[in-house]
């Protein structure tokens, strides 16, 4: 129940966008607590190597959080080991493909740990014993695992064949990895434990989570209307941002579990060090979402949507100035747009 999205703008830059809602417990209480997209690189690696990598995750929150935290630690450990063996900072650490594979290894290990926990609880043995065809009992004696019904059932849990309910929480996660390395540029990777896969995405965008289908409609339209040259690395950052926000706006309205403030991540390796990464998840990202929603309902001209969103997110124009401009430029007056932004029924703002 999530919307996590990524877009490649050009070789040096890209965008990611997500919501912040989580459903908690079987009653599905709503919490705005997850940070669904996070960096998985320690600051010194970013600084020394000029690499950026962000991981977005959807599915069971606790498992996804563990994936991200452990991936960060695994990459850091790999970097430290290389640094130690060289006795200096590596000239070029591994690229995004290798880092994505590292993340996938972490996910594989964790998934197998959780599946083993489940098998041990239900059958008293692990995947390894299942593969070997025998397990040790409490008395230390080896016992064969050869009952046909047991074998069939365990195979389903291990491979997720038929999506058994009992292990859905373990296999139900997906990840979006996106970032930049100096050799390969900005790239996007897709992972899911259902299949399982770790694939680089050829398109300029990727949408995952329950918001995927509504976001896909917006993003596909956006990509369809770019030229080949643009798609290969010349997408305007403001246009990309607005396209992503339009997709999320649609998910906010139509898709369960997509709620709260958006979080926007933008990276640009061409920018000055220290300003290469922007992360916005406060009143500014909320205002950016409002600008796009206002554009959708005709309160703002398209040009105004782009100008205001771009100034707010990329140019550091103050929140208060953009907020006032939103009301000033409303084509149906400040009072009417205020009713719209407060969620009033359309009768309060459509007819005027």
């Amino acid at each position: 129940m999530t919307s996590i999205n990524a877009m490649r703008l050009n070789f040096h830059s890209g965008l990611m966008l997500c919501d912040e809602a989580r459903y908690w417990n079987p009653e599905w209480m709503i919490f705005y607590t997850p940070e669904k997209i996070r960096t998985v690189l320690r600051p010194d690696i970013v600084e020394e190597q000029g690499i950026f990598l962000f991981m977005g995750q959807t599915g069971t929150s606790s498992i996804g959080d563990e994936f991200i935290d452990r991936t960060e630690k695994a990459i850091a450990a790999r970097y430290d080991a290389e640094k130690k063996s060289l006795g200096r900072t590596p000239d070029a650490f591994v690229g995004l493909r290798e880092l994505a594979e590292t993340a996938f290894d972490v996910i594989t290990d964790l998934k197998r740990l959780h599946v083993d926990d489940f098998l041990r609880g239900r059958f008293g043995f692990t995947t390894e014993a299942f593969v070997r065809g025998a397990c040790k009992g409490e008395d230390g004696a080896t016992r064969a695992i050869d009952d046909q019904d047991t074998l069939k059932e365990v195979l389903k849990y291990v491979t997720f064949e038929g999506m058994p309910e009992e292990v859905k929480g373990i296999f139900g996660n997906s990840q979006v990895l996106a970032g930049y390395d100096p050799q390969g540029g900005t790239r996007i990777f897709y992972m899911t434990e259902r299949m399982p896969v770790c694939e680089e995405v050829q398109e300029i965008f990727l949408a995952q989570g329950s918001g995927r289908d509504t976001c896909d409609l917006q993003f596909s339209h956006f990509a369809d209307t770019r030229t080949v040259r643009e798609r290969r690395g010349d997408v305007d950052r403001v246009e990309g941002l607005v396209a992503l926000l339009k997709g999320l706006d649609c998910a906010f309205r139509l898709t369960a579990g997509v709620e709260g403030y958006p979080k926007i991540i933008y990276w640009n390796a061409d920018a000055e060090p220290g300003s290469q990464i922007l992360e916005i998840s406060d009143m500014r990202s909320k205002l950016a979402a409002e600008i796009v929603a206002a554009g959708r309902e005709g309160f703002l001209h398209d040009d105004d949507v782009h100008e205001l969103a771009g100034a707010l997110v990329f140019e550091g124009r103050p929140f208060e100035a953009v907020n006032d401009d939103l009301f000033r430029r409303s084509r149906r007056g400040a009072e009417t747009i205020l009713k719209f932004l407060r969620g009033w029924p359309a009768s309060a703002w459509k007819s005027r």
Binding site: Y23, I30, G343
Partner: protein, 354 residues
């Protein structure tokens, strides 16, 4: 799924609230649910000195079915010069329609699969073209029994069993009463304590009402609520449910009962913009930007005196501790960030001399 909360204010008055949210297949969110339905016409209400409203959560098609059946039943009684004994009897009519709605779907499925219905399962055979065909296959009987008992459910039957309803009304004999209806537990239960919360938001709503009830003595609880205060508590419980649980959203619908009012004012519905403003007043109070007493006084004007909306809205902002912060709160900005947003906007405007 949605949320329905009801509260008896006194022996003769009360309110019921529903939201507009529901999901359909693949978690597509919809905010146009219509979950409060008056069951009597003006004529019946006047002739029987009763009012009854149905609140529904869950599978809309089931509710549409029982709504149609109940209204037809009431119309038939009215045409024959008969009347239900009270809210209880209307609730029974709704409940039996609800159970029929469940059975009809189960029988439909059995017919579709095997060519017989639940009743045939109990007698062990079915008839086709005059021929008696025994149910001799144990596998078929076992599968059919699982369906008939509801122990094995597909998505449709799960939704059907998950449907819930509340019947709320007043009659000359018992005053304001309510009934809780569940096909899952086959129950049409009398709501003695004067409140109920059903649907996905029930835990937040129940907690909200519980905070008020549990702070009062028995005598205080029996004294009930002045209507505007009752509406405040109802809306507060509903806003909490909508904000914190799945499948709840949109503008809150409110229906009010008042047996002491003039005919024509005994049942009133507050929808759309007026309901939105009433909800905002409560939200402002919950956001600590409007005193509770002020909010209740505003609800009196909005809900009971039907004050012009512009005027009431103006009063809400005039009486707020920080009107600009309240605007941000109502736009969906976080409660702890809204004052900061307002301060920044104010400082910028002051700096520009505007």
């Amino acid at each position: 799924m949605a949320l329905v909360n009801l509260l008896r204010f006194s022996k003769t008055s009360g309110g019921i609230v529903a939201d507009e949210g529901f999901w359909n297949i693949f978690f597509r969110r919809r905010n146009h649910g219509d979950n409060l339905h008056r069951l009597l016409t003006d004529e019946m209400a006047s002739a029987w000195n009763m009012e009854v409203v149905l609140g529904t959560v869950g599978y809309p098609s089931v509710h549409q079915e029982l709504l149609g059946e109940t209204r037809a039943d009431m119309a038939s009684r009215h045409a024959k010069g008969e009347k239900p004994e009270g809210v209880r009897e209307v609730a029974r009519v709704v409940f039996e329609a609800l159970q029929r709605a469940v059975r009809r779907r189960i029988d439909q499925k059995l017919r579709f699969w095997f060519g017989f219905e639940s009743a045939d399962l109990h007698r062990g055979y079915y008839e086709k073209n005059g021929e008696k065909i025994p149910l001799g296959n144990e596998t078929v009987k076992e599968a059919a029994r699982a369906q008939a008992k509801g122990s094995k459910r597909d998505r449709l039957l799960t939704s059907v069993f998950d449907a819930r309803a509340a019947v709320f009304g007043f009659d000359p004999l018992y005053g304001v009463t309510a009934f809780y209806l569940s096909p899952e537990n086959a129950i049409c239960g009398y709501v003695h304590e004067g409140f109920d919360c059903i649907g996905t938001g029930k835990y937040a709503s129940g907690l909200s009402l519980g905070l008020d009830f549990n702070a009062k003595t028995m005598m205080m609880r029996k004294a009930g609520y002045p209507p505007a205060e009752g509406v405040y508590e109802l809306l507060r419980s509903s806003v909490l449910g909508v904000d914190h649980f799945k499948e709840t959203a949109g503008t809150l619908h409110l229906a009010l009962l008042d047996a002491d009012a003039e005919p024509g004012r005994r049942y009133r519905e507050i929808f759309d913009e007026r309901a939105r403003l009433a909800g905002e007043v409560v939200r402002a109070s919950m956001g600590e930007m409007l005193e509770r007493e002020t909010a209740v006084a505003l609800l009196e004007k909005i809900v009971f005196q039907e004050a012009p909306l512009d005027q009431a809205e103006g009063e809400m902002f005039d009486q707020a501790s920080d009107a600009l912060a309240l605007q941000f709160l109502l736009r969906g900005y976080k409660k702890k960030e809204a004052p900061l947003c307002a301060r920044r906007v104010r400082e910028a405007r002051d700096g520009q001399g505007t």
